[in-house]
């Protein structure tokens, strides 16, 4: 073959090792990348949680002096940025990465090296963002970075420090990771499904991943442009958001929220997908209305593009625009409600087992109902004039993002960690985690509803005694420490289970989807043979048939693949080789950004590093071509 005849420089020889520390830098295995995402995102979760505790200590009483104004502003900005971009999104990615190929019967994602690249860009972006604490101050303009406060050049002094430059550049880096991921999962889900797995047989979690990937694909470029315009205003003196030059401060808001609203569906749909898997497994019933849940997810994906200005009701858009967005916002509650009713329908008539994953999924449903309802109240524009920028809003989004997304992600963690590690987590500790977290969460965020209605604004580093907000703020602070305690319980459980947990086996939950048909942990090639799919909930149908009354009856011969097959000679399944180049390509990005801030020749060097990475990536040998 012509290919083999060309002498290959050793630079391009692919590494072969799949064990050892170095192998983690070159891995392209979706399962290992999923673990990397999960561990990294969890570390950021702890950082974001500490930031939250710092805020809560400062707000525990009126006129607190624990944090000064500048520090407080940096901490609340980083708390938001961390939780959204460095925790919920990558935790969702962890699940996408680990599970999608397993759920669709594939051996890996469509672009394994692009997958690794996404992870490394994420980590380096997070480090870049956090390095700002040591380099003149972290971003301090809020995660939403409204112009012109955020876009003025540092010398103008509207905000102290250079943190918002780190914001503009850091989020760009993270955006690259998300975009690459989106392309990867769209192609994987559309192209790599096992034979017989039509789109209407795909697990709901996979469907939600597909919708989220399309949302990312189209939303990330919008924030990229917004951030370029913001960054250029700060670095190069462009006037996109400069009122003196006629720039429109609201342009930033429109661009930001055009991204920002789809972003919140990006944050919640994966958790909804998880809940749609866990509830059926622990109710021993299929998801009530698969098509309804799938189509409502697609509907939310579309409708999510038409509500963005509900974040801007008080900016003076006028009654016509406000009405239009009030209506679109109210109606997006309909597909959301469809999901909730379908989840209820799943449990209804089932045989519910309250294992820890189930507790967290039920917690999701319960908390999301509250968050969803408070969201509908925001759509009532005149009332939003009282709610906007108060703690009422903070209550809403924590109910949907913490009570919703985080609870959902923990549900997924307890459900799927046995598959990843081969060990069960302790049920007792899991239940303690759940109850502590539920109580702490509600204690922290429920009072925020009435604090907001009592006028307490967001982003205030302190508040006066006369406002009458002190009592409930104190209660909230106590609640936040209870949440912290619950996280400690989880960490203890995790560490304990890794060495002492009961062996999980392939299918500890008697579940319904294909990932439970292979050993725990799975072999590196996932499936001995690519499965042929004949049903939705394929695994369930291999295990059970339905009698005349629709009740499951065990099938005698059907079962999960035999576990010992992993030890037999399946070494002829060739998986993609590891590669250095995704890491190298990722490495250049923060170098470019540091260069833009400090020393522009470094940006050239960074660009060259990334180019070298990209060249190596495209020129190195691939097993199949």
């Amino acid at each position: 073959m012509a290919i083999a005849a060309v002498p290959r420089p050793s630079l391009f020889r692919r590494p072969r090792a799949t064990t050892g520390l170095a192998s983690w830098f070159t891995t392209v295995d979706h399962k290992r990348i999923g673990i990397l995402y999960g561990v990294t995102a969890f570390i950021f979760f702890l950082l974001g949680g500490i930031e939250a505790l710092l805020l809560r200590v400062q707000l525990a009483g009126p006129e607190g002096t624990f944090l000064d104004a500048d520090t407080y502003n940096q901490v609340f900005t980083m708390h938001g940025l961390t939780m959204i971009f460095l925790v919920v999104m990558p935790l969702s990615s962890a699940f996408f990465n680990y599970l999608i190929p397993l759920q669709i019967g594939a051996r890996d994602v469509a672009f394994p090296r692009l997958n690794a690249f996404s992870y490394w860009v994420f980590v380096l972006g997070g480090i870049f963002l956090y390095s700002s604490f040591f380099l003149g101050g972290a971003p301090n303009g809020g995660w939403f970075g409204y112009a012109p406060l955020s876009s003025a050049q540092p010398e103008v002094g509207l905000l102290p420090g250079t943190g918002m430059t780190f914001y503009a550049l850091g989020l760009q880096i993270l955006g690259v990771a998300s975009l690459a991921s989106a392309v990867n999962f769209i192609v994987t889900i559309l192209n790599e499904r096992a034979p017989g797995m039509s789109l209407m047989r795909v697990p709901v979690f996979t469907w939600m991943t597909l919708v989220v990937s399309f949302l990312l694909l189209f939303a990330m470029p919008v924030i990229a442009i917004a951030l370029f315009e913001l960054g250029f205003d700060r670095l190069f003196g462009t006037v996109f958001f400069s009122p003196d030059a006629g720039g429109d401060a609201l342009l930033w808001q429109h661009l930001f929220w055009l991204f920002g609203h789809p972003e919140v569906y990006i944050l919640i749909l994966p958790a909804m997908g998880i809940v749609s898997e866990v509830l059926p497994a622990f109710s021993r019933k299929p998801l009530f209305g698969y098509a309804a849940v799938v189509f409502s997810g697609i509907a939310i994906g579309f409708m999510g593009w038409g509500v963005w200005a509900h974040h801007m009701f008080t900016t003076g858009l006028g009654p016509v625009a406000n009405t239009a967005f009030a209506l679109s916002t109210m109606f997006i509650a309909v597909p959301t409600g469809v999901k909730i009713f379908n989840w209820l329908g799943t449990m209804w008539g089932g045989s519910i087992r309250f294992a820890t994953p189930m507790l967290f999924s039920i917690g999701f449903v319960a908390m999301f109902i509250i968050g969803g309802l408070s969201g509908v109240t925001h759509a009532i524009v005149p009332s939003d004039f009282q709610q906007q920028d108060t703690y009422y809003i903070v209550a809403h989004f924590h109910y949907v993002l913490f009570g919703g997304a985080i609870f959902g992600l923990f549900s997924g963690a307890y459900y799927w960690l046995p598959k990843v590690t081969g060990r069960m987590l302790d049920e007792g500790l899991g239940k303690i985690h759940f109850w502590l977290m539920l109580i702490g969460f509600n204690l922290t965020f429920l009072p925020m509803h009435w604090l907001g209605l009592q006028g307490m604004p967001r982003r205030y580093y302190t508040y006066p005694e006369e406002a009458g907000w002190g009592f409930w703020n104190f209660v909230e602070t106590v609640g936040s420490f209870i949440i912290a305690a619950s996280i400690l319980v989880f960490m203890i459980n995790l560490v304990w289970s890794l060495s002492r947990g009961r062996e999980a086996g392939a299918d500890p939950w008697d579940a319904r989807t294909l990932e439970w048909s292979i050993p725990s942990p799975p072999p590196h090639y996932n499936f001995d043979e690519v499965p042929v799919v004949r049903h939705r909930d394929e695994l369930w149908h291999r295990k059970y048939a339905e009698d005349e009354r629709g009740r499951p009856v065990p099938v005698v011969a059907g079962a999960a693949e035999e576990e010992h097959a992993a030890e037999e000679g399946h070494h002829d399944i060739h998986m993609p080789d590891p590669s250095y180049f995704p890491f190298l390509a990722a490495l250049g990005l923060p170098v470019i950004m540091y260069g833009l801030i400090y020393f522009w020749p470094a940006s050239i060097v960074g660009a060259l590093i990334t180019m070298a990475g990209l060249f190596g990536w495209s020129l190195e040998p691939v097993a199949e071509d």
Binding site: G289, F331, I340, G349, F354
Partner: protein, 329 residues
């Protein structure tokens, strides 16, 4: 829960920023609409959470070989729980849209015009038809509608008096308008509700609603030029330092020729205001002294330089200037 919270809070003291204790027609319409939607939402909450709790109890697994019927959905239910919430929302939309347009419509009658310009971190308040400028206080005649035109000189701020009306943003380069009316005389507290930098939490203001005659008296007093202190007094000494020092670069005192700066608040009738520095300090000798000594130390990021460190003032000079400022009724 909300009611419980409010009751508890009411027991512990006043709630000056409470949007559910409206003191004017705009806030009342907003509160009424909120309560309508709240009770509907509460009903939905009880229903859905109730079903959830019921399902958890009724359908919990009783034995290891509990095998429930494998239901694959019900189209009629899907249609029903799509249509019914949509209808409910459509019902809620009607008063919502009505109120949106109602609140956006200029009120009938003699509307008082006020122009408020936001600055980091204080409010310039101008009465264009009455020819007066003040800061951090909006006086209005009780029972008369007011149109407040909002803009900003620097970043986005937001004008919010919860007991009278919700908030509207002050966006540089645009003018937004908020209408409100105080039903009865009283003092209503307001604050900035759009993150605007270091001292966002220190940008408050007060709306003081007065009987119409008292309001007219206030207008008359505000229109006059600044009080001239008797010569030889401490206040006169303070005026001397004020009018020849750096103060005039930022502040206006009508009657003092050199003092025409507009970077900081108009001080012509400072002492008639009960608070200062964005309504965060009571106006008294002690607070004014600390402010002149080192404003940034007591209000993070304050643009006013420190008297002692940056402007080279002595304690005596400050004492005189404080006396002068306190004389500006």
């Amino acid at each position: 829960m909300v009611i419980l919270g409010l009751l508890l809070a009411a027991c512990t003291g006043q709630l000056p920023y409470n949007s559910l204790d409206p003191a004017g027609p705009v806030a009342r319409k907003q509160a009424d609409l909120y309560w309508l939607v709240f009770w509907i939402a509460a009903g939905v909450f009880v229903l859905v959470e109730g079903l959830l709790v019921y399902a958890m109890i009724r359908f919990r697994r009783r034995s290891a070989d509990d095998t429930p019927r494998q239901i694959h959905g019900n189209t009629r239910l899907e249609i029903m729980w799509t249509i019914l919430p949509a209808l409910l929302l459509a019902g809620v939309a009607v008063p919502t849209v009505g109120t949106i347009f109602d609140l956006a419509t200029r009120p009938e009658g003699e509307v008082l015009e006020v122009n408020v310009t936001g600055n980091q971190w204080w409010w310039e308040v101008e009465y264009p038809d009455l020819g007066l400028i003040t800061a951090n206080e909006v006086h209005v005649p009780a029972g008369r509608p007011v149109a407040i035109n909002l803009t900003s000189r620097d970043v986005i701020h937001s004008f919010s008096v919860p007991r009278l009306a919700g908030k509207q943003d002050l966006v540089p380069g645009r003018t937004n308008t908020i209408y409100m009316e105080a039903a009865r005389p009283g003092t209503y507290l307001g604050l900035c509700k759009e993150y605007c930098g270091l001292s966002h939490a220190n940008m408050r203001f007060r709306v003081i609603a007065q009987e119409p005659t008292e309001f007219d008296e206030w207008v008359e007093a505000q229109r006059e030029e600044a009080a001239v202190p008797p010569s030889g007094s401490l206040e006169a000494e303070g005026l001397e330092y004020f009018s020849t020092g750096q103060c005039i670069g930022c502040h206006t005192v009508r009657g003092v020729e050199t003092a025409v700066g507009r970077v900081g608040p108009d001080l012509t009738h400072l002492a008639a205001r009960g608070t200062f520095a964005g309504a965060i300090f009571d106006l008294n000798e002690e607070n004014l002294t600390r402010w002149l000594e080192d404003a940034p130390a007591v209000k993070p990021g304050a643009k006013m330089p420190s008297g002692l460190r940056d402007m080279g003032l002595t304690e005596d000079q400050i004492e005189a200037m404080v006396a002068y400022l306190l004389s500006l009724e």
